[in-house]
Symmetry: C2
Subunit: 538 residues, 2 copies
């Protein structure tokens, strides 16, 4: 095909845009229709030359079909990525969902070699399954150092709470990933770990000096770059000591002076999603893309309006605001990255299953077991009572399902499950010493299972649930049969300070069914799950 110079520029610019699609095949299955383009728009943009797609939603099997579909709609090799930091199963049902990285960061303190081995297998498992699903770019490892437990957006996603741990494990993950022929992405540059506001909602400020950054934030990025990571994702953070005007994503001081010049990173620089409020509150879609490019980014992720971003960039190149050489350099970096990718299977080849192999299942189980904390006890003896489960939200609720051990195992021992969540009747009453409205929960001992990990978008909601007081309330009434925390080590550490040491209790960093099974078979003294669903259909 031959194109006019304008068309040619437009197609070249389009190559550098990464748009968002649902992993489901049909428009009406999209979970976030506001953010996920319709098939008509996707097809049009891919035909216009858009070069990348970020996917979310659907199962691993659906994703495999979806990536084939996207490839058919394009006449060039695509970058196909997803935020599968914790394994493909974190985002796509049926894949391996692994314990959050911080669990290995904790393990590293007592057994660094074991943690490093795990991190490398973690990367290999994630890359292999991503490839089998048709992805070629994993948006990980997180290189942020979670030195601020109040961080609402990084938290257990980080590989460590100090720079050496985070750097060593993130690099091990990257080494495992590299072996699978899938690209990695170090994020969020220059470090998002020490923020206590959420960049999805507003622009956090990191007041640190270049010296402090060099000591705490940057070392993990240096290590992962040395391990050969292919791309770096920028953070939507203001670092006034480096650039008073622009967040890192749009800052030449950060992306060019610091990342390119000082850290000598020669790979792809990709923005974090430009639809996030930290950016859109300040800039239109076209201007944000131009500013990011001007600052030193190569790829524009999820612009609020892809067409506007493309026209804005074209105009900036035509007018000379952006030098043409920058375009050529970014295109070349993209080509080089694509050359490192293992070729995707052709549509008429029989495909590998995207689902876990035996070895990958073993890894899931070993990771859960290695990161579990059990408070020694004689196990839960109660044969009836309330199985009180706290989850963030229900729609969707990946941690619970008809066969979730968190429901089924206590039910098999006579407990009645009661699930509390943000869209249900509140279990709280306004009494400081007795915050749980016990009349709403029913009689008998209470097994408390809290699924809590510092999720983004939830602001301070978790902290307004007075679980410490609730634990004390139940203990004083001799009604606390057991306590399990799934997710945040900080919640576990906080509750342990009030927990009677005789109470059977456990902490699992992972929230997945395998973690529930391991915790509850131990706490309930089950040898094995025997409680299938009584109904044979629904």
């Amino acid at each position: 095909m031959s194109y006019s110079p304008t068309d040619r520029l437009q197609r070249q610019v389009a190559e550098l845009i990464v748009i968002r699609a649902s992993g489901h095949l049909a428009d009406q299955q999209r979970r976030y229709p506001r953010w996920e383009l319709s098939n008509t728009d996707l097809q049009r943009l891919l035909q216009q030359g858009v070069g990348g797609v970020i996917l979310l939603g659907g199962s691993a099997v659906e994703l495999q079909q979806r990536t084939l579909m996207l490839r058919r709609w394009s006449d060039q090799p695509l970058l196909l990525c997803a935020d599968v930091e914790e394994g493909v199963g974190q985002r796509f049902e049926g894949g391996s969902w692994l314990v959050p990285p911080l669990a290995l960061g904790r393990l590293y303190q007592s057994d660094p070699q074991r943690a490093l081995d795990f991190a490398e297998r973690y990367g290999r498992c994630t890359g292999d399954q991503a490839r089998r699903c048709g992805l070629n770019w994993v948006l990980g490892p997180v290189c942020d150092v979670n030195n601020n437990p109040a961080n609402p957006v990084i938290n257990v996603r980080a590989w460590g709470e100090d720079a050496p741990t985070a750097g060593a494990l993130a690099a091990a993950f990257q080494r495992g990933l590299s072996r699978t022929g899938v690209l990695g992405c170090a994020k969020h540059f220059p470090g998002h770990g020490d923020t206590s506001s959420d960049s999805h909602l507003d622009l956090p400020v990191l007041p640190h000096s270049p010296e402090r950054l060099a000591n705490l934030e940057l070392p993990p990025f240096r290590e992962v770059i040395a391990a050969g990571v292919d791309s770096v994702m920028t953070a939507h953070l203001l670092l006034p000591e480096l650039d008073q005007a622009h967040p890192a994503t749009l800052s030449k001081a950060v992306l060019t002076n610091l990342l390119r010049d000082d850290l000598h990173f020669g790979g792809l620089v990709v923005t974090d999603a430009l639809v996030m409020d930290a950016i859109t509150k300040r800039h239109g879609a076209a201007e944000a893309a131009v500013l990011a490019f001007e600052a030193g980014a190569d790829l524009i992720l999820m612009p609020a309006d892809a067409d506007a971003a493309i026209s804005g960039l074209c105009e900036a190149f035509s007018s000379g605001r952006l030098p043409e050489q920058r375009l050529e350099t970014s295109l070349q970096r993209r080509r080089q990255a694509l050359d490192r990718i293992q070729k995707p299977p052709s549509p008429d080849q029989p495909q590998d299953t995207p689902l876990p192999s035996e070895a990958e299942r073993t890894l899931e189980q070993e990771l859960v077991a290695a990161c579990l904390h059990l408070q020694p006890s004689t196990g839960i003896k109660a044969s009836q009572g309330v199985n009180l489960i706290r989850v963030d939200g229900l729609f969707p609720c990946p941690v619970l399902s008809g066969t979730a051990p968190a429901l089924r195992l206590p039910e098999g021992q006579g407990f009645k499950s009661l699930v509390i969540h943000s869209q249900g009747i509140s279990p709280w009453q306004h009494q400081t010493d007795a915050p749980l409205a016990l009349d709403r929960l029913g009689e008998g001992p209470v097994l408390l299972q809290l699924f809590m990990r510092g999720n983004p978008f939830r602001g301070s909601q978790d902290s307004i649930e007075p679980w410490s007081a609730a634990v004390q309330q139940l203990q004083s009434l001799h009604r606390l049969a057991g306590l399990v925390i799934y997710g945040s080590p900080y919640v576990w550490e906080q509750l342990k300070t009030v927990l009677n040491p005789d109470i059977p209790a456990a902490y699992s960093p992972g929230q997945m069914p395998e973690a529930q099974r391991q915790v509850l078979t131990t706490l309930l003294n089950h040898s094995h799950t025997t409680t299938g669903n009584a109904d044979f259909t629904d």
Copy 2:
């Protein structure tokens, strides 16, 4: 391949067994591991010659891959079926989920021709999508006459509340289905509509005389047989006037004398699932299969133990308890049915998408619109309050999801959603006049959305929720902003007797998101859904 006579008998018998598999690809994804065979067992049984699989669970896209997988494991053509009475989307996410048949049974009273046209398109849509998913046998139409509103298991699954309606519409469905090259199945012979206990839990008794059966229960079966249905499924019902000892599934009087001889049905007779308690409480897996075959069945669906059923049948044929001619006849009926099936696509052909076409989407929407009942009103004006949603259970909860209009549309108008369900904190208090514990629900007007349809397995649970009194309670406090019933016409009719005619209210037989959208855009005076999810990821 050549087999020894014993092996040969075993393979022939195995052809007549239909085993159950999850529609998901991996063992750990099974929702009902007690009933759904592991891949190892499936593969072994298919290699031993088992000739049919019934599938449940997973998405339409997963089902398509799953049926390819099952075909690869077998060296013969398989019967692959599912209970997709209400469209593929009823069981497999992403397919078309259509209004329950009884909705058309009601429409038939005022506009029979329109209802008949709809029923035929309904059958065509279901068959076409089933075929695109790799199924070749739809376990419908239901031919039961739901003349007993208390029926816990048939209810809205029936095409009518009288014999002529049920017969005409079920036959229209079958005509539509036939055109797609997919087999149908008339069920549950000789009629399960007039039962008020649930055969999943125990054996219901139908005390009717042959004359009554001939007038009410049998005519729909006659019509659907005349329309060329390929198979008939038996009911686990005791009909003492025909057979005092055996339920229909195991009764020669019912299957041979009535169905074969009187109704002249020459196609495949398949048992309902033999794992149901009505059978397993009385017979072992081997004996149940032999009794069913002796009674006149050709195919054994979901034996409690497939290996035991196969050995039991082999022994019965070897010992002469069952004549060999019966085996040959059943095998021949199966071959003839397979000959009528449109050939499945070969694995290396590009496949049709299993997802709805534009025309099928239109059918979904037209069906919802045609069956909707709105209580004329000026619409819901309240701009805050409680969006109280009642669902059966949460895990899974196909009617709600992150983007379900039942949640999103009222939330967009300032309502706070509160979801009540069997595993949540109860909204009830023990006060006859004021059964709703309003202090648990929060302030302001209440929009009440009840998802209720006579589901099996729930016993009388629905009836112990005093919704009539709750509606009166809210009305007397002037707090009922609106009422929507999704599902059962009987619940709607009951609540209408206490409902103030000024209250905006609606009834939709369908519970799917499309029904929610149509109801709420009308009740809330929305012109269009504008409320996407505020979060751009989860």
